[in-house]
Amino acid sequence: MRSYLISRLLGMIPTLAVISVIVFVVIQLPPGDIVTSTLDRLQAQGVDATEEYVQNLRARYNLDKPLVLQYFYWAGNLLTGDMGYSHLYSRPVNELLWERLGYTLSITVSALMFMWIVALPLGIYSAIRQYSIGDYIMTSVALVGVATPPFLVALVFMHIGFEWFGVSTGGLFSPEYEDAPWSLGRVADLLAHIWLPMIIVGLGSAAFTMRILRANLLDELNKPYVVTARAKGVGPAKLILKYPVRIAINPFISTIGFVLPSLISGEAIVSLVMGLPTIGPLLLTALLNQDMFLAGSLLMWLAILTVVGILLSDILLAWLDPRIRYE
């Protein structure tokens, strides 16, 4: 197990190196760079930059060096945790990310919890009461849930909230707390707002998970090991949870690793629609505005989190299923 872990960790290094080259090339692709765009901005303000200023700027961003060296400067900075400067927001990328990480985490994690709290009991019920009225109802609801894009659900919720109840459901804070310093009231306000994005983001995956869980469980329910356990006197609830459910949920627990990359790319459109200060929309605007340092750093993080997430999934799966662990 340990040597497996070490080899997997070492294997991540070349993967990430290759990805970083690709990301760097992508950053360089559009014409112009941060200096030309800065000059454009200055010019628009009526300021003429001196040749010396331009040289300074180029030197500061290492743009006067060959491309290969530029790559190493960029990658080296990334390694030390400096993700560069966003000219769109005129702020360091690090600051932008930190600010949004908390909200992103809280929405993603709470949506994940919502998904499990809904999908686990309903999926189990649906399987052990297959073809009951409850199963049919849940199947229908789940199909709608899977088929509706989350941003549409968000729009519907916001419309209903506004038209019927006269409340604005966008954002994570009421206007009076928007820019206020942290206080008990602000936390309460956050909690009062976060449940909606939590449900909207979690709904689709809850429906999907419920359906897959039902299918997996139906496969397991009549396996001989379940009959053996029933015949040895295991009570009904424990029987279902300890034996078939334990095996049916393996594939899901292992997908927890995929949550990591979704911190950056997940539900960007929902966040945009609802005005949520998460990282998703940041990536979208960075790409739209050719804010290449910001976009590059986010893409790089996406890659890192994906690779780490996959590793995490594999470890979890091995931990959960001895058949994999012992191979």
């Binding site: 090991y225 300890k242 034996y243 959960l320 001895p322 058949r323």
Partner: protein, 315 residues
């Protein structure tokens, strides 16, 4: 008067599937003498497993017990009837694995792959007795050693898939016996195993039965095994009992045409050089697919065939 531990009467089970209604069991009845090995023989699909599952009350939909009684007279508690036990009756949980336990045909899939052998054997104890985990594991280890699993300190923490088929079947047997049940049901416990392993497992079951003194219901389609193991034989055909008797009576002097056919179809017993017999549905004058009520004969055996065809029938 023979001491009877289990008395099955008029047991009927239906399976309602898309294809239609199947009468898996029709009026099945037999007695199990206490402390003895009763064998059920019959071809595949004759209802042996369904009968066993009824006794454990683990018939699952689409199957349903539609009639009959199973009277159980355990030594450790008052007699009760199994078919009419309510779903929440504590005796039902006590019955499964506590008073009666079962060894299944497929040792490769009868254990969950994600729990250790020790966990699954100890669980049987924890389900039925108020003892701590440690005590349960200790007793599980003892029983595993008793069924012939060595190096127990290491093996008890291993997973079923690390064991061979024969070893797994030993684990299942240990799991079944660890609560000292009064009846052990073995549903074709050796069918899925290699021939050499088969013999070992049979010897093990027989030896343990001698040691522990429990009654055994041994289900098989192999007459050879019956001769080796059983005291009493119940022959089933198409969901019915066609003949009941002692091993000697049934194997030496079969009465029902189906039993005769079954014996004639054994490779070792048939005359050399002739093709093995197959069992037609009409043997001699008797259409064996037609149900006849069981008739008790003076020598204690029972047979289901027209009264006039029973040789030397008295009454």
């Amino acid at each position: 008067m023979m001491d009877t531990v289990l008395k099955v009467r008029g047991l009927a089970v239906d399976f309602k599937t898309d294809i239609g209604l199947t009468h898996a069991l029709v009026d099945v009845g037999f007695d199990m003498p206490r402390g003895k090995v009763t064998a059920i023989v019959g071809e595949s699909g004759s209802g042996k497993s369904v009968t066993a599952n009824c006794i454990m009350r683990i018939i699952q939909p689409p199957g349903k017990i539609v009639g009959g009684t199973i009277d159980f007279a355990p030594e450790s508690m008052d007699p009760f009837e199994i078919v009419s036990l309510g779903k929440r009756d504590p005796r039902l949980q006590e019955l499964r694995g506590g008073l009666i336990s079962m060894v299944f045909q497929e040792p490769m899939t009868a254990l969950s792959p994600v729990y250790t052998v020790g966990n699954q054997v100890a669980e049987a104890i924890l389900c039925h007795r108020k003892v701590g985990r440690q005590q349960a594991w200790k007793e599980a280890a003892e029983m595993l050693e008793r069924v012939g699993i060595g190096d127990i300190d290491r093996r008890i923490r291993m997973y079923p898939f690390e064991f061979s088929g024969g070893m797994r079947q030993r684990v299942v047997i240990a799991m079944a016996l660890v609560c000292h049940p009064e009846i052990l049901i073995c549903d074709e416990p050796t069918t899925a195993l290699d021939v050499t392993v088969q013999a070992e497992i049979l010897t093990l079951i027989k030896d343990l039965q001698n040691e522990l003194g429990n009654s055994v219901l041994f289900i098989t389609h192999d007459i050879g095994v019956v001769a080796q193991l059983a005291d009493k034989v119940v022959v089933m055909y198409q969901g019915r009992v066609v003949e009941i008797g002692t091993v000697r009576q049934v194997l030496k002097d079969p009465m029902h045409p189906y039993t005769k056919g079954l014996l004639a179809a054994i490779p070792g017993l048939a005359p050399k050089g002739e093709p093995l017999a197959t069992i037609a549905s009409v043997v001699g004058d008797t259409d064996i697919s037609r149900p006849y009520p069981l008739i008790s004969l003076p020598d204690g055996r029972q047979v289901s065939m027209p009264r006039e065809q029973i040789p030397g029938a008295i009454i």
